[in-house]
Symmetry: C2
Subunit: 632 residues, 2 copies
């Protein structure tokens, strides 16, 4: 393998121009972004640096990260949607950060205002480096969007400060974050600043992690703590149980984990580090072949918000934090740049259409932190640890702004390219203009994807030029045909793409047709929670049964193997969204009276089921929901 | 309804003489009892009253209850098995209690030794009245077994002290226990002492519970605590959320709950309180029709060891504490005395053969606290809150001695009687001698129950006499025939018993034949955890699949509706115990390689399953186990 990487296309050169994503992006920009600014303002987050002892809203140690993700979302949005008010809001916060930065470059409201003189004493539990990383991402995005340097300079100085504190050199601390994120952020910062020290610091954080003597042990002792009393028990919670190159499975807190893995991939790509990339691949395989929900969610256990063990994917008790699915998208996106293989894009698409956007309501106002695959409201009421409906905000509000920044930058995930090839990873009505074979080229996608499998790509090079357009054949699709100017093309190749290399001319037209029947999907026999059950999928969209359409006791619904399932928009509670309907069977509860157990053989009665896209569940009040339906 | 009660038969008049229970009782007596004495000794429990500040093994606030249950078990065992060494052990502890009792009658090692001057300040959380109750039960049992009065007198004085402290009269506290138990114990004590004040105190504790102003509120305030900060949130945890007569569902900590309900039934029977009995029936129905596992376990939630909500019966996450199933047996046994209806005995039998004795290993040395209905060792290792194997002992060791006292007194659960009728609630090789119609009568049961459904009852009145022998037709049985002297008798009546009233003569022989095919059982459609699954039962015995016989991925095993299942002892890993075998299907994991999800339709391969009795699981090492198998 060579580390020949493909690269993403700058946001200003690509644009979602309609269809599925445009609707989500509009709501994100018009509703979610202003709402999040208000929440950050009302809760004191945006004024944390101005907080004084005795006042309300004492800064929390991860507050900057929420503001930073809001900045990032705002920046991405500004690329194609100028908004002076929004820009002024960001500028005001940037100004506050610039004023608040210490002379030595340090910048953290919690440690500057609440815990002075305790900087860098607890990397394991506190989120200093995490907050720094998010601010760096925000600063880079805002600089790219507006050209304004204030934030970028502030964060560059902060990065320089951190590089003076941490590193392999004599006299520096050999620490690294308990909550990873800064690794991938430093690579982004390096791209913006060109300062190789920023890349070196990212590589240091990656490579130092989990080595012996263990930094978290030494740091705890220096604080006067007993390392063995660590409340998470083991350093696998923070992926610091082993040096990262020796890690083979995805462990611990799943958001931290995938931020780290994305950082590892970023560093591997930049430093052409094949051993590190091999570790990324091993972990990728472990996640996607053993530890990922069908909706692309990861981190199944709510105890520690973490990965548990192979094939352990409980549905009702799923944690599957929105942030974790987003982090998996980041990881996928970076793997794809190193190795344009459709398996990464397949997972990216799976997460985006299902376990990511399930995190926000259709109106953009309410959010899920955990994305369970089955909901039983009395259970949730009883255990009190999860809610059967989306919430307005969270004390730990990582997910809402994470969603916002991802949606606002979604145009950046459609393509990657090299000098003479462009890979189409995602389908959606959009326009991209870039240079291929030294020729400015515009590609225009027109499609009703994901509701329909026809995608028309119009190719418009400024002049005839030879380059490759590679179209992903999604793994969910069993019948894909591509025609170029009406002629059918063979494919895909081993990497899962249909590579079209030819001399392209203005007006060339590619038509991709992806057969999109309703599919019953089964899970590996070792996934004990899904045994004897199937999930319904159409195209990339996972479906589910909701009480609103199907009544209660959904677990008891049986989908016969031969039941014909139809997808259609007529009768859909969501305009333009196909629902799946068909005959099924269930037991008649009325025949049971007061019995709890009785000899088997209750006759099944006919019923009709209506399945809606999973990501749309819980938009019509509280009720039961399942994704895995009895059947084969 | 009249409160015409049937009564149990004294232990000395009834005897298990062979068969299933004899084997369990022998192990209980020979292995478990000495082991528990050693544990109580080694952990300091038996010497708690002699503990002094600074020494190891500081008494815990529920330690007396463990010792008391051991005394009770020892006493029951001594009835038919004199054992001077065991008796001396009990006497020694009784002596220590007598010496330790305060002049005013108070007796509690924790408050006398560890928290002096804090008596009766926290009935809600501490277990003073609970420990007192268990000591009373032990004292009554020991007095009945040996005629020795020391313990009984000590506990009678303690009861008098408590009655001076608590009651409806002016100047007394209107408190009641946070952990119920003393209510049923005081009724037993009243039977032994004839002191109506003991009964009145039981009735007071029952009737005062949950009234307003709330005692637990006042008590918390008196301690300087804020009642609202109660760590269990709501008084339903202790069944004190409402006056007991207004309670309609089984709520809160399930052991406390069923001890209370047994106490309520005891008080209702003694005081002919029909309203109170009606509350017992309502709660009984709620438990057995909505909140009971198929193995008779209750209290499905490990969060608070409590009842959750109707039809919420998770299998792998079942709590189903051994003590709770035992408490349900106590409740059933008391309901049966008020109203000889087989539904109580059916539940008693269900619990005894399944969710109760699953609590102890075949060798009598190891114990389950929680009795889950499915086991997946990697899950248990991951969550750390439950063990996939029985343990030697517990910090909170309520279950092992509870099992010991129940097994040691099992002969007391077979029959109840009135002056001229005797009800056979349980079947087992045994002998009972009692007076019916003023005539001494011996009934001898001979059977290989529960492995075989033939029961022969030989009736031997001293002289011909007319009385009723009522034989329970178990609810699990669809084909029961009874012959008396070769003639078939009709039955059962509405109460579920086949009542044989006639003039009985020496040598009369009743033959009961209970058809015992392998049954597939299904759960109510609202039990979401069991939807699409069946449990295997034969007679009263619930079966399960263990990894030792069936490999891994047991959830994936499908039992076709037409698969013929056979019960036989040949090939059984447990001598003389029938196993169930038959053809089934499952997916072949080998065809899956690295896929996690794929289109449904994996062909099923034939497999052979072997099911063993549930209570015998986890006697052959650690492995997967399920009780609910895919099928209909």
């Amino acid at each position: 393998m060579t580390m020949s990487t493909s690269r993403p296309i700058p946001l200003e050169s690509t644009r979602i121009t309609g269809g599925f994503w445009q609707a989500r992006i509009d709501v994100n920009r018009d509703v979610t972004l202003p709402l999040q600014h208000r929440h950050c303002k009302d809760t004191g987050r945006l004024d944390a640096f101005a907080w004084e002892d005795g006042k309300p809203n004492q800064p929390h140690h991860f507050w900057e990260s929420d503001c930073a993700k809001w900045i990032e979302a705002a920046a991405y949005s500004l690329v194609h949607n100028p908004d002076p008010e929004l820009e002024a809001q960001v500028d005001a916060y940037a100004e506050l950060l610039a004023e608040s930065q210490c002379a030595d470059g340090y910048l953290n409201s919690f440690y500057q205002r609440v815990r002075p003189n305790k900087r860098w004493t607890n990397l394991r539990d506190m989120h200093e480096l995490y907050c720094a990383g998010h601010l760096m991402e925000g600063a880079v995005a805002y600089h790219e969007a507006t050209g304004k340097r204030t934030l970028l300079d502030v964060l560059s100085r902060y990065a320089d400060h951190i590089a003076r504190m941490f590193g392999p050199e004599e006299g520096k601390r050999r620490g690294y974050p308990g909550h990873e994120e800064i690794e991938l952020a430093l690579v982004k910062l390096y791209h913006a600043t060109g300062n190789v020290k920023h890349l070196a610091l990212a590589a240091f954080f990656v490579n130092e992690r989990g080595t012996q003597p263990h930094y978290f042990d030494d740091e705890a002792k220096a604080r006067g703590d007993e390392p063995r009393t660590y409340h998470h028990g083991n350093y696998d919670y923070t992926q610091a149980h082993l040096p990262v190159r020796r890690q083979k499975t995805a462990e611990g807190h799943s958001v931290r984990a995938c931020y780290l893995y994305a950082g590892m991939a970023s560093v591997a790509a930049e430093t052409e580090d094949e051993e590190l990339f091999a570790a990324c691949r091993r972990i990728w395989d472990n996640i996607t072949q053993r530890r990922m929900y069908i909706h692309g969610g990861i981190g199944s256990s709510r105890f520690g918000e973490r990965f548990s063990f192979d094939y352990d994917l409980p549905n009702e008790d799923a944690y599957a934090e929105t942030c974790a699915a987003i982090a998996l998208v980041f990881f996928a996106h970076r793997m794809l740049q190193i190795e344009p293989d459709s398996r990464y894009a397949d997972v990216m698409e799976r997460a985006l259409y299902n376990g990511v956007i399930s995190g926000v309501s259709l109106d953009g106002k309410r959010f899920f932190y955990d994305n369970f695959l089955a909901s039983h409201p009395p259970y949730q009421r009883f255990n009190g640890q999860k809610s059967p409906e989306r919430q307005e905000w969270f004390g730990c509000a990582c997910c809402p702004p994470n969603l916002a920044r991802l949606l606002a930058s979604l145009n950046g995930y459609l393509y990657t390219q090299t000098d003479d090839a462009i890979w189409t990873h995602l389908y959606g009505t959009s326009e991209v203009t870039t240079k291929l074979a030294n020729t400015p080229v515009t590609l225009t996608q027109t499609t009703d994807y994901p509701w329909d499998g026809d995608v028309v790509v119009e190719v418009a090079p400024e002049r005839p030029a030879t380059f490759t357009i590679a179209l992903r054949k999604p793994a969910w699709c069993h019948e894909a045909t591509v025609t170029v100017k009406g002629e059918t093309v063979e494919g895909p190749d081993e990497s899962g793409y249909i590579a079209l290399r030819r001399e392209w001319q203005q007006g060339d037209r590619i038509v991709l047709t992806l057969a999109m029947p309703v599919e019953r999907i089964e899970a590996h026999p070792s996934v004990r929670h899904d045994a004897g059950r199937v999930a319904l999928q159409r195209g990339p969209i996972l479906y589910c049964l909701e009480e609103a359409d199907n009544g209660k006791d959904l677990y008891d619904v049986l989908l016969p193997t031969d039941a014909e399932l139809t997808a259609a928009t007529s009768g859909s509670p969501f305009e333009g969204v196909p629902i799946i309907t068909g005959p099924a069977k269930r037991r008649d509860t009325a025949t049971w009276s007061d019995q709890l157990y009785r000899p088997a053989g209750t006759p099944l009665v006919e019923t009709e089921i209506t399945a809606i896209p999973y990501f749309l569940w819980a938009n019509r009040g509280i009720g039961e929901m399942i994704t895995w339906i009895q059947g084969r």
